[in-house]
Symmetry: C2
Subunit: 292 residues, 2 copies
């Protein structure tokens, strides 16, 4: 049986240390790092995520500033608010909760945030810096996945890694980060158009999946002793749950956990690490903005 890469516990431990850091900043420098979230519309998943970000920000001592808009908000109104947050000295991290309604371009909104407050690391400039191997605010999910490996002492040097998924939020930046001179993995990016995906994942020592398709890979797609990171969160019908549904990842946890050496559960794996890295990015941004 695989060892569980416990994102919940790991995130809690990192957040405890962040709490101390935030307190020190407040006491010694008079800086209270602040995170602002721009939320448009009533998407239930977005609302849940934002509530969680609020709760955990507040818990570690961050100032939290929520800006809610109806789904009919115009681009100009959104930009005006982001302008205000860009200028505010109480706010050091800003994020636009995705998805946005169709009439708003997410890239345009994110690029309206000044790069030094781009807490999600999704703006064009931060992506360019990441891609170049320069210091930057890094996207939270891939950063959290790599941190989870580190916290469990799993190296990547010279290892064959397959990343399934090429999204801007997870797959692409994760591949860049893993194949950097700091991590030195040999990385293959697979995706929906990849032929014989199982054959490819089977050759990997570490597989990171962020494809957004429920349980698409089972034990037949992995070799004995593989390390598996699953960034998927999919709701599927379940007769055993009161709500009639349960959350699963992009891999079949039951079968894969029998042959993997390490594996992330869903929920409780990558998810908690993502929020944790958002908090860390906000504290980092505050330190940089204040010249520390």
């Amino acid at each position: 049986m695989a060892i569980i890469l416990d994102g919940k516990k790991t995130a809690a431990r990192i957040e405890e240390k962040l709490t101390e850091k935030v307190e020190l900043l407040a006491e010694e420098k008079g800086i209270r790092p602040g995170l602002a979230v721009v939320l448009v519309g009533e998407n239930p998943a977005s609302t849940t995520y934002v509530r969680m970000k609020n709760k955990r920000s507040t818990k570690i001592g961050l100032h939290f500033d929520l800006r809610k808009f109806p789904p009919t908000v115009t681009k100009d109104e959104l930009h005006e608010t982001i302008d205000e947050l860009n200028r505010s000295d109480k706010v050091h991290g800003i994020l636009v909760q995705l998805p946005l309604p169709d009439h708003l371009d997410p890239h345009e909104a994110i690029d309206w945030i000044v790069p030094e407050k781009d807490a999600d690391g999704l703006g064009t400039l931060n992506q360019g810096l990441l891609y170049r191997g320069k210091p930057c605010l890094m996207p939270c999910t891939p950063k959290g996945m790599i941190r989870l490996l580190e916290e469990y002492g799993i190296g990547t040097e010279g290892k064959n890694v397959v990343v399934v998924g090429r999204s801007e939020l997870v797959g692409r930046p994760l591949a860049v980060m893993l194949s950097s001179r700091k991590r030195n993995a040999t990385v293959t990016v697979a995706h929906t158009r990849t032929r014989d995906l199982c054959h490819i994942t089977k050759q990997a020592e570490i597989v990171a999946v962020a494809a957004g398709r429920a349980q698409m890979l089972d034990a037949d797609c992995f070799s004995e002793g593989v390390v598996v990171l699953d960034a998927g969160i999919n709701a599927i019908p379940s007769s055993e749950s009161k709500t009639g549904r349960r959350l699963v990842g992009d891999i079949d946890f039951e079968s894969v956990s029998k042959i993997a050496s390490y594996i992330t559960p869903v929920p409780g794996g990558v998810g908690p690490m993502t929020v944790c890295m958002l908090l860390e990015n906000t504290v980092e941004a505050a330190r940089r903005i204040c010249g520390l």
Copy 2:
């Protein structure tokens, strides 16, 4: 025997079409696209490259503006000249010839160029856009390698591609471009820390090498029918040459050309395509800047 991917002929054909395009722009819109090159010091390879860029720019009808500096030039002097070129309405593409002397940071110099005139596509913003799959000025070498495949009708959809090398100039952007939703290749980035490189390249249908090491891969590292793109240019000693040296790529052309289906020669393969794409980027930049 492999079919030769003739970069020289292909570039000449593309440049003929560019010449017509430039003439039309001049006649119908009164726009003469201009390329400016900033050259620091007396590096002989740089001097040769710049001379070639000058010759081929002029040949297709571009305005060419060379700014030469002694190796002792200061950052501020360099930035002043770039500022002037950024503002000039005679110049639509600007590049800083690399390498720069040690006291100058190449990234800082390149990022001083306004993104819309970044003819080499190496600025942070253009790299961020590339990485995101957005329209941008693309780095010339990987763009030229992909164009060469296209001109010979070689598809990438669903193919297994190995890119050897993770440089910012070639390997990394090439991997991003090939695994994009437009090209759909399954791409592995291998590098100096990759274990058992030959085993990995042997499984690929297309191998692109940009590692900067003379003849590092021979026929044993490839499977029958492979397509090979070689971006390496290395001088090695040769008793048969008057100069006592000859240029070779990163693969052993003699043995690999016997089993490959298509292969680029060195010289005359990727090299001419790189300069050709620089000219194309300059014309593209001129059109965009003038709102066409």
